[in-house]
Symmetry: C2
Subunit: 671 residues, 2 copies
């Protein structure tokens, strides 16, 4: 259909959709940057979705049972901002629209979940939103099973572009959704056939509907500008017992000189062309102005869910007080009071037992006491359940016939797992953790970074965290991955030395509200090094004195994880030679950096030589070894400066020199 | 078919295939670790492939026109090692088989390309091999177009498992292969329905044949134990004008007690069960012994390509001497002599012009002179061609009707691009470079790490390398990505300050033989800071004195890339106040670390205070700021300690304090 026909056939719809188009054009032109074409092309689909299907109440954007709207094609952020503004968001005001992409604005270049309610997730890196959406839909299934349809019963809608579908993570996501028949997940594909480099055919000829069907989805193909077709497709999709993909054939930058071109993907800033587009659209209002009748029509859409929300409040109120409180606690992400008690009891037990355990096994023992008291945890693994020790007896397996199951077999999909876990965490009511080998942090990286940026407490359980993995060799042995996660802002990287530090790390991870955690856990057994019970969570300080020097303090050994016991052995040898040696266990550099200067100085006083020990690259250590502003200490580091190798683990530690003997030698060279 | 039927129907085939099975069982049992089931299950397919289809000559494993055999399911490494040993590799001897997974052995846990010829790539991280294979097949097409069928005309075979197909990168790879109709690429899918966690259905119900067909592949479904069916399928696949996927229905750990179970995926070490399996197979030879008749049959297979190879040598010899020399140079990966001359001339020109250019634009100018003299370069971008500045006029676009094209529109597939580039580099004869935004290093990470581990010179062109990207915001602004690449062993990270350093960085990247390069390039314009022409490649030293102190040297400013001009401005202000200030440009920390201690000390003498300046996290800098063993200098760092934000770039540099004024203030606080 051409524009004239579209306008004539559905004038009210057209005007509402064109309000999005005009705001987009104006905001991008004002910012002199951004992406105009996608919001213009998908305005029709979004308008029908918001007008007729999306369950929401603009006055209560954090209503837990709202439908979720995920803009996976995040560069089209003005679509989302326009929708929020037009429906009456108190956060995305006209002022914000005018400040699109400016310092301090909530209308960032790409949607950032933490800037305003209604922005459900942070997108832009392509493929993430659709993968988050899978997690949102899983969270909905789980919470519906747990709390009942009266309080949780909503859809997850997602707009994805060609870029999202080309990114590999989307295949992982659609595989998960298909496997679990997430029937309340509905993806609208902006099938505009344009990428930045040109037409999609330049790089891809995939039959996307066939691809989605192969993954177990229902697919409906429509003209993405026809409001009746959009409405019908959404109605049908909601009835499907599978996840649905609606392929919306659209024209990017519809009605603009740049229509159907890759230029249309970007910032359309030519005033003359923009005016011409507005004329073609029949839009004569000044920049940033939406005529009153259209504004009112949109405002009504923003309010149409108010009644449903009121009914929902009544439903919630009909639950028992305890149930209401539990729902509120769960959605708020507050840990139950029992958590710290069970952790403390476990620490006491571990101190008494002093087990020799791999920290991945310690982690399992922690989860065994934690999962029963935290019904919001959802565990999983990217096909390494037995190796990651992520499954405990009580969880049950999430499946089509067991939506109460709290364990997910993610398959060999680290990236999809991480992105879906982010979606669960963003949905609220779920505290997800998932495992893989630490080396495959690489595969999950884009989603791990986004967890940090989004300020959500996703927990990444990364086992086999060094050459201690042994024979599988360098493809599976992380050496740089601690540094990678530590380099990432707002990420807590825990490398616990024993069972007790593992319990403490979990306690912090499970009570975090806005920081993801990486648990770096060993394959190999480790002795208990914390032999005296402390109620206090010492790991929360990031680093602490595990064993002080006897006699004059000449040396400080700083170590993490599996190398803390190496440090303890080296200390023993040094003390025998009369060299006073302190051992500092440093399970979390980020938390140590947050301690006050006095505490940091107490743990790491200037003067003694320092040797850091970690079976990984040195990068990230110098701050602690050399001193924060320099001139604090002579220092050395025992670790890895190359990739590992395939051989039994004990031999690897010998060959790479990560031994007490080598530590002693390096200390003596410094003294 | 049951084993008895299989044995009876094709006894010779059975015995040959079972030699692989027996060696696998013995080697894994001896190592007490590894993966037995896959080689046992895929022995039939591999045997038929090697016996009847694969063009190779065991005595000349580096023959450039050999078919390539890629074991994407790298955990089944004993399949590959068995094949190499049985066909007579001089590298994978019986001794090596017996030393499977031991220190110093060529038979590492997962195949490592640099340990022995015949191991075409390093696999284990799933999905990589199949994506490398796409690059191998593209390289073959390109070299065939360039040198003619007489010298390049071979197939790429790949064995992939369920894990490879679940990893998202495989979708990117099959999309690329389908788009480009890589008809000489043949993937054998080990369809054994087992993953580590259990049956595939636990996590996936994708209709894989339908998925591959949707991507433009031919698919043939067969019984993977039936040698006739395997042979017929391979014959058909070779005739197809599309890439082919042969779905081989197999039994993991066929004939073993662990058959068809996830236990069968791992190390089968129970002696009794292993003996029983051998009995079922009709295999009575002692451990590690292959009966003479079977050994001879395999040896014949190893030699059957000798004649073809001799003919190929004759074909090669029939080319002109210049053509032969060019072929040899290209395959060897030696840069032509002209390269350094054109780089030198360009540097001279740049010094005269002193342009203000973004380093991504500088990079394009370098490529414009380099690509014409290096016909082996293949450029590309993950759908950011205009932003990455990777396409030069002479390249032509690789397409189904233009196999000579040297530019690839990879689509929005950073990971697939990186892995396919690795495949090209491994194939030989191609020097690939590809671009994306630096932030999306995250997406390409698994393949970037493997390039480093594999010792191949893939070039990653990472533009928009800081908050200088501006309005797109923190999802697109790298802050930790320099640290991430620097943390990775065997990786050169270049952050050139101007056009001249960019040219020097490219020269190093394009002459590297065993180290990948990351070029970190700006979006925003930068002034030329190297104002005096030097023939010598100063970037090759990693860091150098760009401007020395006038008067007493009190301060050393160390900076990279866009911040070198900030350092120069700060120096000017400090010198005006009588504070002698040296500026060190440090375009490549890794190369500086390789210089001798005397040079490093000349550039960074102890004493003066040091301030590092880089619009990124500090991690990785302390070695240069604080001194390599501590106590060298008082130091500070001006950079980022959080994610960025969405706003115009100049404002971001102000807000985050990456300015000459702030540098001056921080210096003065130290003095």
């Amino acid at each position: 259909m051409d524009i004239a026909t579209l306008r004539k056939a559905h004038p009210d719809h057209w005007n509402k959709a064109t309000a999005i188009r005009a705001l987009t054009l104006d905001a991008v032109a004002a910012a002199n940057s951004g992406h105009s074409g996608m919001p213009i092309g998908m305005a029709d689909a979004a308008t029908v979705l918001f007008e007729k299907h999306l369950k929401f109440d603009a006055a209560n954007p954090e209503w837990p049972d709202r439908d979720r709207f995920i803009l996976s094609a995040g560069h089209g952020s003005m679509l989302l901002y326009s929708l929020l503004y037009l429906t009456g968001s108190e956060h995305i005001t006209l002022e914000e629209i005018k400040n699109f992409r400016q310092w301090g604005a909530k209308t960032a270049g790409h949607p950032e979940n933490f800037l305003a309610p209604g922005i459900e997730t942070t997108t832009g890196p392509l493929g993430q939103g659709i993968s988050n959406a899978v997690g949102f839909a899983m969270a909905e299934e789980m919470l519906r099973a747990r709390f009942g349809k009266k309080v949780i019963d909503h859809h997850t809608y997602c707009i994805a572009g060609d870029g999202c579908l080309m990114e590999g993570v989307s295949q992982e996501a659609i595989g998960i959704a298909g496997r679990h028949q997430l029937s309340k997940l509905i993806v609208l594909w902006d099938n505009n056939n344009i990428t930045i480099d040109g037409t999609v055919e330049l790089s891809d000829r995939t039959d996307q509907p066939a691809r989605f069907r192969a993954a177990g989805w229902d697919v409906i193909e429509i003209d993405g500008h026809d409001p009746e077709a959009i409405d019908k497709a959404l109605t049908a999709a909601k009835k499907s017992d599978k996840p649905s993909m609606i392929a919306c054939k659209t024209h990017i930058a519809l009605g603009h000189a740049a229509q159907d071109t890759s230029k249309g993907h970007g910032a359309l800033t030519n005033a003359e062309q923009n005016d011409a587009a507005k004329t073609a659209w029949g839009w004569s209002a000044p920049a940033f102005v939406v005529p009153d009748d259209i504004k009112s029509a949109w405002a009504e859409i923003g309010q149409r869910g108010a009644q449903t929300r009121a009914e929902w409040e009544a439903n919630l109120a009909s639950l028992s007080g305890a149930r209401q409180a539990e729902f509120a606690r769960t959605i708020a992400g507050d840990a139950p009071k029992k958590l710290s008690a069970v952790i403390r009891a476990l620490k006491k037990q571990f101190t008494d037992e002093a087990p020799k355990l791999a920290t991945r096994a310690s982690s399992e023992r922690v989860l065994e006491v934690v999962n029963p008291v935290l019904p919001e945890t959802v565990g999983g693994s990217a096909d390494l359940t037995g190796s990651n020790n992520t499954k405990t007896g009580d969880l049950g397996v999430f499946d089509t016939d067991n939506r109460k199951g709290r364990y997910v077999y993610w398959g060999i999909r680290e990236h999809g797992m991480a992105a879906a876990m982010n979606g669960m965490a963003l949905h609220g009511g779920i505290r997800p953790y998932g495992g893989t080998f630490m080396c495959f942090t690489d595969y999950a990286r884009p989603a791990m970074r986004l967890a940090a940026l989004m300020k959500i407490p996703t927990v990444f359980v990364m086992t086999h965290d060094s050459i201690g993995l042994g024979e599988d060799g360098p493809t599976h042995q992380p050496v740089e991955h601690l540094a990678i996660s530590r380099a990432t802002p707002n990420t807590m990287v825990f490398r616990p030395a024993d069972t007790i530090e593992t319990a403490e790390a979990w306690e912090i991870a499970l009570t975090s509200k806005d920081t993801p955690s990486v648990l770096s856990l060993t394959r190999q057994g480790l002795p208990t090094v914390r032999l005296e019970h402390k109620t206090k969570n010492l790991t929360a300080q990031g680093a602490y004195v595990l064993a002080d020097a006897t006699g004059k303090r000449q040396v400080i050994l700083i170590a993490t994880g599996s190398e803390v016991s190496v440090a303890m052995a080296a200390r023993e040898a040094l003390q025998e030679q009369g060299i006073g040696t302190r051992v500092v266990s440093m399970p979390c550099m980020e938390l140590f950096a947050q301690q006050d200067a006095a505490y940091r100085k107490r743990v790491l006083p200037g003067g003694p030589v320092r040797v850091g020990i970690e079976a990984a690259v040195r990068q990230g250590w110098d701050r602690w070894l050399l001193g924060e502003r320099g001139r604090e200490a002579k220092a050395d580091f025992v670790g890895m400066d190359s990739f590992g190798a395939s051989a039994p683990a004990p031999e690897l530690f010998e060959k790479f020199g990560i031994t007490a003997e080598n530590v002693v030698a390096r200390v003596k060279a410094l003294l």
